[in-house]
Symmetry: C2
């Protein structure tokens, strides 16, 4: 199955083109991981936003989600149904949205990562506007290990202020 492959590889790597790439299966796992992260990304954003709205305004209404996510209410409605199915929120028709315990946990988690990334970006000298923008994108792609490293750095930098 891999006879010709191996030969090729040997040929290629031992001559003009050095094979300095990651093993294909490792590479594949990385991308699969990214794809999976993508799936939960939006979900986390909604849940986090719902938590923020509840804290700031006392309740989370679809119209506000729609404004803040920059999508139509139809889209929000569909999303809420999915969050409900996943057991992250509860919602009666025409009422505002509530988080389940699982939802609250996810929101906490997400928020804490978000804050760490944001503080960290500020700490390394990124402007407030950009920091906010990038934190939104980055927060979903940092592992616990990286978050921990960022927290250490942000704290250290704050200490030397």
């Amino acid at each position: 199955m891999a006879t010709k492959q191996d030969k090729d590889l040997e040929h290629v790597t031992s001559s003009e083109h050095p094979d300095e790439m990651l093993a294909p299966d490792v590479h594949a796992r990385q991308h699969q991981h990214v794809r999976k992260a993508h799936e939960t990304e939006l979900v986390e954003d909604y849940v986090e936003l719902i938590a923020d709205l509840i804290d700031a305004k006392g309740e989370a209404r679809a119209v506000e989600l729609s404004q803040r996510m920059g999508v139509t209410q139809a889209t929000v409605g569909k999303m809420i149904r999915r969050l409900d199915e996943r057991g992250l929120v509860t919602s009666e028709p025409y009422r505002s949205i509530f988080l389940t315990d699982a939802g609250r946990r996810m929101a906490e988690d997400s928020r804490s990562r978000h804050i760490t990334v944001l503080r960290f970006l500020r700490a390394i000298g990124v402007s407030e506007t950009t920091a906010r923008q990038d934190a939104e994108g980055i927060e979903h792609h940092v592992s616990d290990e990286t978050v921990a490293a960022m927290r250490r750095l942000a704290e250290k930098s704050q200490a030397t202020d």
Copy 2:
């Protein structure tokens, strides 16, 4: 149009629930930005990978893209057609894939960001495996400003090695 809105806001913010949230429209723009980034993310990954393959093996074949992206060849084929339409690659049936000038530029750009993020993560003490993993996810969500900040830090840390 905003009479009731304003009243509500006033009421709410001046009583039990402090409004410590971003303005809705700013928030919306942030999310729209993230959504847009998402669209180009996969495209960048493919283009970058194609460039890497060309450099490492002399050519980029669909089968290898499929292995490394962890998707089927059908998916790769569809993607290649889209990259072609966007003017990033050229491809004849049953031949390997080539980058256009635009494609090469995108690959360069993407690669340089990728490398910076990766070095940076290493520099702040993240393990090699995690750094590779996270860099893959983060690279598409960092602005030029943040990349610059990361580069500064990574270089400084290298200097003090």
